[in-house]
């Protein structure tokens, strides 16, 4: 620790701390533009000038590390003149167009000019004109005239993300930020530069000219798109969510970076497909009429066939409080025990192993078990890079394709599809391993602090992970990367989230043992690992009652639809992939008759004839574990999996592999449409050459038995030869309805045949 004095106050800070951070700890504000804790010192903007005793010149607080006994003054005539001079310089070529600037009112150039500026302008010459509204990506506009050249954006993309897509161009006063070779920035992290920009230079295109700060509600929320649940701010205007920004959480060492899939999909809350009307038997009705009818029909079903004839499935996207209300309705009103959660993978993580992002930051070794975090949980990829910047982290990929990548290099172990758990088991079992696999076994067992990112796809891996944790001397933490967004929140609400619960309900339904099925935001045909089972279930069960924001297909299977409010429209608690409970506040209004789940459920209970009193007796946080859900020790060790059946792939057939790609699986969004991947399927380049796929990608037909699907495909060297990668949840190719134990045929297609388009 180093002790120093700032403005007469003494503080001890860790060695190497910059003066600006030491001052911040004392609550002393030193203005900064170019400095950002995630990027380190640069010393370019010079606004943070301070006076340090025994140093003849003013020093920049962001590049000066503390020294024992240092005496710093952040005010006084010299400092004030220095700051005024810098602010005056920053404004001489600035267009001063605050009245039409989106950042007006949220701008550090404005704030500092008010707080520290001279209040008058001596510059009488002509200003330099530069490009305005320069699109640097599908979502980002650059106003070069407003730029203060702090290089935060460039350094973030180059150093932090590792995708150099922005650069400085020109010299001296003609220096501007631009894209590399004029190509648009394509990184899924590019949107963060909007938050990082301290002035009005980098702007969100979808938010451009949408609001002034006094028009909006800007509330603390959590991203709703993937289970990372990034801390963010949602901006509401006139009842609609119009912007999402990152929200730093210093107490969790989180800089508040988002991915663009989360940042630019908030418009799903008013997407054209959003449910805004209640329906009964296919006809629009008032919500109260639908509630009355559904309540009555449910009561009759229970009276006739007993409470166990009703199944309840949640999609795991609503708040913990709402999931709890659903559970109460199922158990206390209907009286059924058939309650479950639809998740897209069959694996069940023993919660005792559940880790945190803190574990990730401290990890010495990380196993990517079936998942490429860049695709599935993009901000976790950034967190891994962040950990790597602090200390060495070994990264291993184990899956049916390459999982490491240029921005997160490591050793890849590619196995046959469906053999991930078997391979992990074999690694732990010792036995006959070649040198390469031996190295993996040693790494996994001996690395000091291991974190496993698990996609949950191979159920047998649960047993292997438990075994791995038991065998290791150091801590082992697992972070499940699969959705739905709030599945751990549903667990907190008491809803069984294991695969068997949902599977049992769907099997009962498919075999005619259910008289009614209640779905809360669940789309089992799209999301359940066995899509065909879900389809049979929905066809067979006499009544399906759906509550949610987007109706599952086929619509004719739904006896009733009750639109619900969603994220940004309610205040409630969510649990992320660490099991961390956090509150998201509402900033928008639910459209039309869409209602929050709690009043909906209590109304249904009244119509059922058994009122439900949801008092305030449920607090998601009331746990011995504080802000994380309870993680009971495993009551039983997961069973060792049966040996996987051999793949049935005939000559000329391809193996089908899949995984979570949040760019595909995010909620429907018109904003995100502009960067939608037209070629979401991926093939090895050698295979693509043999097929004759065009270099930029093209349409292919994927067929199995009599089923044929057509979708865009492109080359990806990370896919092994003979395999075709289909993202999970892709409407064009519902991979959960194909038999992945068998092969598929792949051929070029020149157009989408009729009747094969999105279901």
């Amino acid at each position: 620790m180093t002790q120093l004095t700032i403005d007469g106050r003494t503080i001890s800070v860790p060695e190497g701390t910059m003066v600006v951070d030491a001052a911040a700890k004392l609550g002393i504000d030193i203005p900064i533009y170019c400095y950002h804790q995630s990027l380190g010192p640069l010393g370019a903007c010079r606004i943070c000038l301070v006076e340090i005793e025994k140093m003849p010149k003013l020093q920049t607080a962001c590049t000066t590390a503390v020294r024992e006994g240092m005496v710093v003054r952040t005010g006084g005539p010299a400092v004030e003149k220095g700051r005024q001079g810098i602010l005056e310089f920053l404004l001489i070529n600035h267009p001063l167009d605050c009245p039409v600037c989106d950042k007006g009112g949220e701008c550090f150039l404005q704030d500092y000019s008010f707080w520290y500026g001279a209040g008058k302008n001596r510059f009488e010459e002509s200003k330099i004109q530069r490009r305005k509204d320069y699109p640097v990506s599908s979502y980002i506009l650059l106003d070069q005239e407003r730029c203060v050249l702090c290089q935060r954006c460039i350094r973030f993309m180059g150093e932090y993300v590792g995708e150099e897509q922005l650069m400085l161009e020109g010299r001296g006063v003609h220096t501007v930020v631009s894209t590399v070779e004029g190509q648009p920035a394509t990184s899924p992290y590019a949107g963060n530069v909007i938050d990082l920009c301290p002035v009005g230079a980098l702007l969100s295109e979808p938010y451009h000219f949408k609001a002034r700060p006094w028009n909006i509600e800007r509330e603390e929320t959590l991203c709703s798109v993937c289970p990372v649940g990034c801390a963010s701010l949602v901006t509401g205007r006139d009842g609609r969510a119009v912007r999402l920004e990152g929200r730093p959480q210093p107490e969790l060492n989180d800089y508040g970076f988002l991915c663009d899939h989360g940042r630019f999909t908030y418009d799903y809350t008013y997407h054209p497909r959003r449910l805004t009307a209640a329906e009964l038997d296919g006809a629009p009705q008032s919500p109260s009429a639908v509630i009355a009818a559904v309540g009555e029909r449910l009561a009759r079903a229970v009276a006739e066939a007993g409470p166990e004839s009703v199944g309840v499935l949640t999609g795991g996207t609503h708040t913990v409080e709402e999931e709890w209300a659903l559970a109460r309705f199922a158990q206390d009103v209907v009286g059924t025990s058939r309650l479950g959660l639809v998740k897209p993978v069959a694996g069940d993580l023993p919660l005792a192993l559940l880790g945190t992002f803190g574990d990730l930051a401290a990890a010495t070794g990380v196993l990517l078990l079936g998942v490429d975090p860049y695709e599935a949980v993009p901000v976790v990829h950034l967190k891994l890079r962040e950990a790597r910047r602090a200390h060495p982290v070994a990264v291993w990929g184990l899956g049916d394709r390459t999982l490491t990548r240029a921005t997160l290099p490591g050793d890849d172990y590619v196995v046959e599809p469906g053999r991930v758990a078997a391979a992990l088991g074999a690694v732990l079992g010792g036995g006959d391993l070649d040198e390469r696999w031996q190295a993996l076994a040693e790494g996994l067992l001996t690395t000091e602090r291991l974190v496993v990112l698990w996609d949950g796809a191979d159920p047998g891996a649960a047993a292997a992970l438990a075994q791995l944790a038991a065998r290791r001397a150091g801590p082992t933490a697992v972070l499940p990367t699969h959705g739905p967004r709030n599945w751990l929140g549903a667990v907190r609400a008491g809803i069984p989230a294991d695969d068997a619960a949902a599977r049992g309900i769907l099997e009962d339904a498919a075999e005619g043992r259910l008289s009614a099925l209640i779905l809360l935001g669940a789309d089992p045909i799209r999301d359940f690992p066995d899509g065909d089972l879900a389809a049979r279930a929905l066809e067979r069960v006499p009544s399906v009652y759906f509550m949610g924001a987007f109706a599952p297909e086929p619509r004719h299977a739904l006896a009733a639809i009750l639109p619900t409010a969603v994220w940004a429209e309610v205040t409630g608690t969510y649990a992320n992939m660490e099991g961390r409970l956090q509150v998201a506040h509402g900033a928008a209004a639910a459209p039309g008759p869409a209602r929050p789940v709690r009043p909906l459920v209590t109304a249904l209970a009244r119509a059922f004839g058994r009122p439900l009193r949801l008092g305030d007796d449920f607090d998601p946080f009331a746990d011995q574990d504080g802000d994380r859900i309870a993680r009971p020790p495993a009551s039983q060790v997961p069973e060792d999996p049966a040996a996987p059946a051999p793949l049935r792939i005939r000559e000329g057939e391809w193996a089908l592999i899949t995984g979570e790609v949040v760019a595909v699986s995010h909620p429907p969004s018109e904003i995100a449409e502009r960067s939608r991947d037209r070629f979401p399927l991926r093939l090895n380049p050698a295979d693509a050459d043999r097929l004759g796929l065009r270099p930029e990608g093209g349409l292919v037909e994927v067929s199995q038995a009599e089923r044929r699907f057509v979708a865009g495909a492109r080359r990806d060297a990370r896919i092994p030869e003979g395999r075709v990668f289909v993202p999970r949840g892709l409407p064009e190719v519902p991979v959960n309805r194909l038999d992945r134990g068998a092969g598929v045929r792949v051929a070029l297609a020149d157009r989408v045949p009729e009747g094969v388009a999105a279901q």
Binding site: A44, L49, L58, G85, F89, L168, G170, R171, T175
Partner: protein, 433 residues
């Protein structure tokens, strides 16, 4: 009076020996004997001590003691790198160019001696892109040295091996700043780096690095042969030795002059044939355009580092610009500030924006559109740049301006009150700016 003129050239040896850029001629005249002697003695530390004892100071501009710079290298066993700064871009300075073109082997010999002293298996010459002739001479000399076993594996049959690379700059003045030079040498945009870490700790590709000027390094061979006392026969206690001064402007014989460091400016001008016949000196910038100017009344100032600082200027890189009474100081200042505006890398606010602002005000003044308040603005803007920029370029940009306003304020005022140049100087051609 300063020390006597040396009996011969020790750096500009091509002035005495024609064809010395060729290895055979260089060797015939004692070339590579110093290297052989240094290698045979095999005491690298002694070489560092010798350099320290000689008092040799960096000839690139800052005048930092060379031996001390070498001793800042951390003793952690990592391989060191020598980078020779041959990006001579300072207006008024053209010594390294002539040294490299005429006497490249002495640079190579000095580099190998230095690298042997500091333990560097590799060295780089970052040469200004425009110096095509110097580049060709230097690379030809390196090839000759390689073929003669002076460079490469087992230098002159000893255990010391050394590889030398020459890299051409792309025309940015700022790449003469050592950290911007390293960035550029690594293939990046030539912007200066944050210090610390200093190049001695983390320089080229993060390796411990010494960056020295061409002329500095060329002092090594004679120093090794003749010793520190020999070197100290010239100059002063703190500024010993010989310095190649580039004299330009209104003198009869502009050019490079190898002179002892205790000569006065007047003696130097005299050596260059005196001021233009029929004219008088008005002002002198002693160390290149980034240094403050001195009025004629200060011509008796010795050119050693300390005396010039005391007189309000600096020796810098030794580019002595002589201006006679026909020079419009407003125009001269406007031209120099515009140079720095164009050469500012754009990284830091005060240098980038301040030089732009100053240039516009000075242009207006020169046109006769100035106001009296502009003079205060010029000084205040200069003050807001000076000492607040990221690197020394900001200070360099305002040195001449502030000194000219101090010594020749009247001339600025006349431009404002008379709304024209009192000397009738034509506004300079802006086409090439």
């Amino acid at each position: 009076m300063g020390s006597p003129r040396p009996d011969r050239h020790y750096l500009l040896r091509q002035r005495d020996v024609s064809g010395i850029h060729q290895l055979a001629v260089y060797r015939e005249h004692g070339g590579y004997q110093a290297l052989q002697q240094a290698l045979e003695a095999n005491q690298p530390d002694q070489l560092v001590e010798l350099t320290k004892a000689s008092g040799l100071r960096g000839r690139g501009g800052a005048g930092f003691p060379t031996g001390m710079k070498w001793s800042f290298l951390p003793k952690d066993g990592r391989a060191r790198v020598l980078v020779v700064n041959a990006d001579e871009g300072e207006p008024g300075t053209f010594k390294d160019r002539e040294l490299m073109e005429g006497n490249p082997h002495q640079l190579i010999e000095g580099m190998i001696i230095t690298c042997f002293a500091i333990g560097a298996p590799e060295s780089y010459v970052y040469i200004r892109g425009e110096f095509l002739h110097g580049y060709e001479r230097l690379t030809a000399a390196i090839r000759e040295a390689e073929e003669a076993g002076i460079l490469g594996e087992r230098v002159m049959g000893t255990d010391f091996s050394h590889r030398m690379f020459v890299y051409r700059g792309a025309g940015a003045y700022i790449c003469g700043e050592e950290t911007a030079l390293l960035e550029s040498l690594e293939g990046k945009r030539g912007n200066p780096r944050s210090k610390p870490p200093f190049p001695a700790v983390a320089g080229l590709y993060g390796r411990p690095t010494v960056v020295n000027n061409v002329e500095t390094i060329m002092n090594l061979p004679p120093l090794v042969l003749e010793g520190a006392d020999w070197y100290r026969q010239w100059g002063t206690e703190k500024s010993p030795g010989l310095k190649v001064m580039s004299v330009s402007g209104h003198v009869n014989r502009p050019g490079n002059y190898e002179v002892p460091l205790d000569w006065t400016l007047a003696e130097l001008i005299e050596a260059a044939g005196g001021v233009r016949t029929g004219h008088q000196v008005k002002a002198v910038i002693p160390g290149g355009s980034s240094m403050p100017c001195m009025p004629a009344s200060q011509l008796d100032t010795p050119i050693d580092y300390e005396s010039l600082v005391q007189a309000g200027s600096m020796l810098g890189s030794g580019g002595c610009i002589v201006m006679d009474e026909t020079t419009c100081m407003v125009r001269a200042v406007a031209r120099v500030v515009r140079f720095y505006r164009n050469e500012s890398c754009g990284k830091c606010t005060p240098c980038r924006e301040g030089t732009f602002w100053l240039t516009d005000i000075l242009d207006r003044l020169e046109r006769g559109d100035g106001e009296m308040s502009d003079l205060d603005t010029l000084l205040d803007v200069s003050d807001n740049i000076n000492g607040k920029a990221f690197c020394a370029l900001g200070d360099a940009a305002v040195g001449f301006l502030v000194s000219a306003l101090k010594h020749f304020r009247e001339e600025f005022v006349e431009h404002i009150t008379g709304q024209r140049c009192p000397l009738g100087a034509r506004q300079y051609d802006t086409v090439n700016h």
